[in-house]
Amino acid sequence: MNEKRSYIKELLRNPFGGSACLILLLLYLIAILAPFLAPYEPSDQDLKKTYHPPTKIYWHSARFVVARYKNVDPSSATYKVIEGEFCPLKWFVHGYAYRLLGIFPSDIHLFGVEKPDRVYLLGSDNTGRDVFSRLVYGSQVSLSIGLIGVSITMILGLLIGGLSGYYGGWFDNVVMRLTEFLMAVPALYLLLALRGIFGVKFSSAQVYFLIVIILSFIGWSGFARVIRGLVLSLRSQTFVDAAIVLGQSSIKILLKHLLPNLASYLLVSAALSIPGYILGEAALSFLGLGIQEPSASWGLMLAQAQDMKVFMLNFWWLLTPGIAILITVVAFNMLGDVLRDLVDPKFRIYQTKRG
């Protein structure tokens, strides 16, 4: 009963943990392979095919074919299938050039159709851009912002909270008052105020980093407080005293004795706070303060869907980024919950036998 427990095995064996891992793995694969999976560039417009519904794909003479549509009423964007007319759906076609992972040059795409026909798996938006392609590209922003944001927050929180808890004194006092101030201001207003300080004239990449930094700046305070508390309680454990008596330096005590004991908490809290970053980015982009056109992000796409026409004419496909956000957030929360149950010390007491 005293074997070292394999958390990964237990995590995957748990039905919720396993499916959360699977979903997240898929999502991140999609983000990494976005240029390969997306048939069009996210900014690729076709003004003749605005608000195009998802194209029908069917099996015809031993291959997949894509139906052709005719715009019946341009004012209300009503499309009708032209019976008997179609174009073949091709696999591994040559399209626009890209660099996979920013390194490997290629122009192969998983699927596509010959120009001027277009395939819209999830319809098109108000300028005829492929929603599926934008969704896939948008995942890069939404999924990476969580990871990078959490990493920065954790480093900040660990550094500030750790030092605060280990050394205490005036530094601790100043830091804790600062975190209290940050936590007292409602997050959304702080987010908007911070974003407001900087202008709007930034390139997409600059805006991306700005968002990450702002989100991390808001996030670190709560995190640092928890780390401080944990370090304080670990600090009073006898093994830390033992290390001091052995003559170990403070920095090594922090790294060797305190940090590894925080690892499980860090993991859980990372998984549970990533959704906050994804939603934060979505909120900023939704309000027009985040990722700018023509780049794609899920929040930005939702903002564009916020149009009377969408609701009146039932362009449901424009709401798919919302579903993507929902799935991602739920998956991360599920993963965090399962992880927390696994590393919860109570769970371990349950396992030890009493004399």
Binding site: N2, K4, Q237, T238, F239, D241, A242, A243, I244, V245, L246, G247, Q248, K256, H257, P260, N261, A263
Partner: protein, 268 residues
């Protein structure tokens, strides 16, 4: 201390006081103090065991912690081989960490749960013998394990895989690693079953013989202290109420508190 002093003391503690502030006034000045250790003096000679008996709140643990500088003294002096060590900075005190080691009470908390036994025992070697080769270190670690009654097969296990008694053995091996002359034993057997207690006490006696160690043995159990000590100090509320050889103390206790302690010892 009574009796002729044959050799000069290894450690001498002179009118040691450790006060803790309980309430602070508006300007951070402390108004009230808890006198955890109040004017304590004693000496430990080479190869000798001094027992420190007292109940919780008697200040016995604070004395031990002050000697290894986990706690700063309020006043008084601590001399190691005649040299004052109570006023050194942590950096200046570092060489003395090789001479003075400590064994802790709670075997569940005194080993880092995330480290293997091998890395727990390698830490003191890394700190004090940086020049030692990897292979040499490993040999030394195995030797230490064997000294405390464990073996090389335990190297790569984690603390939770061991019983309380075994963990205490690992704690003893860690203290021995640097080759100390004095070990502060802070209630090393209080958290253990009586049967395991006997094993650990025997081990401590064997090691003392082999390495000519001096012990400051802190415990709330007079019967245990008596087994190993050459000289016993009875502590109550931060003060020494009685001191003497174990025989003197248990045969002719003078102080009322000592008498009460002796009467409370469960006996067969």
């Amino acid at each position: 201390m009574t009796g002729p002093t044959v050799s000069s003391p290894l450690l001498s503690v002179n009118s040691l006081k450790v006060y803790f502030p309980i309430r602070k006034s508006l300007f951070g000045r402390s108004k009230e103090w808890v006198k955890a250790v109040d004017d304590i003096s004693f000496t430990i000679k080479e190869g000798q065991t001094v027992g420190l008996v007292g109940e919780s709140g008697s200040g016995k643990t604070t004395i031990g912690r002050t000697i290894v500088r986990l706690q700063d003294p309020t006043s008084g002096s601590i001399l190691y081989e005649g040299k004052p060590i109570h006023n050194l900075s942590q950096k200046q005190f570092r060489p003395y960490r090789k001479k003075i080691q400590m064994i802790f009470q709670d075997p569940h908390n005194s080993l880092n749960p995330r480290l293997t036994i091998e890395s727990i025992l390698r830490e003191p070697l890394d700190i004090h013998f940086p020049g030692m080769e990897k292979k040499q270190k490993k040999e030394k670690i195995v030797e230490l394990l064997e000294k405390v009654g464990l073996s090389a097969e335990h190297l790569y296990r984690y603390p939770h895989e061991f019983s309380g008694g075994q963990r205490q053995r690992i704690g003893i091996a860690r203290a021995l690693a640097v080759g100390p002359k004095l070990i502060i034993c802070d209630e090393p057997v209080s958290a253990l079953d009586v049967s395991v207690q006997a094993q650990i006490i025997n081990l401590l006696m064997d090691l003392q013989q082999e390495f000519n160690l001096s012990y400051l043995f802190i415990s709330h159990d007079l019967a245990v202290v008596e087994y190993l000590s050459d000289y016993v100090l009875v502590l109550n509320k931060g003060r020494i109420v009685e001191e003497g050889t174990p025989e003197e103390i248990y045969k002719h206790p003078k102080d009322a508190y000592t008498k009460k302690l002796i009467a409370s010892i469960p006996s067969i």
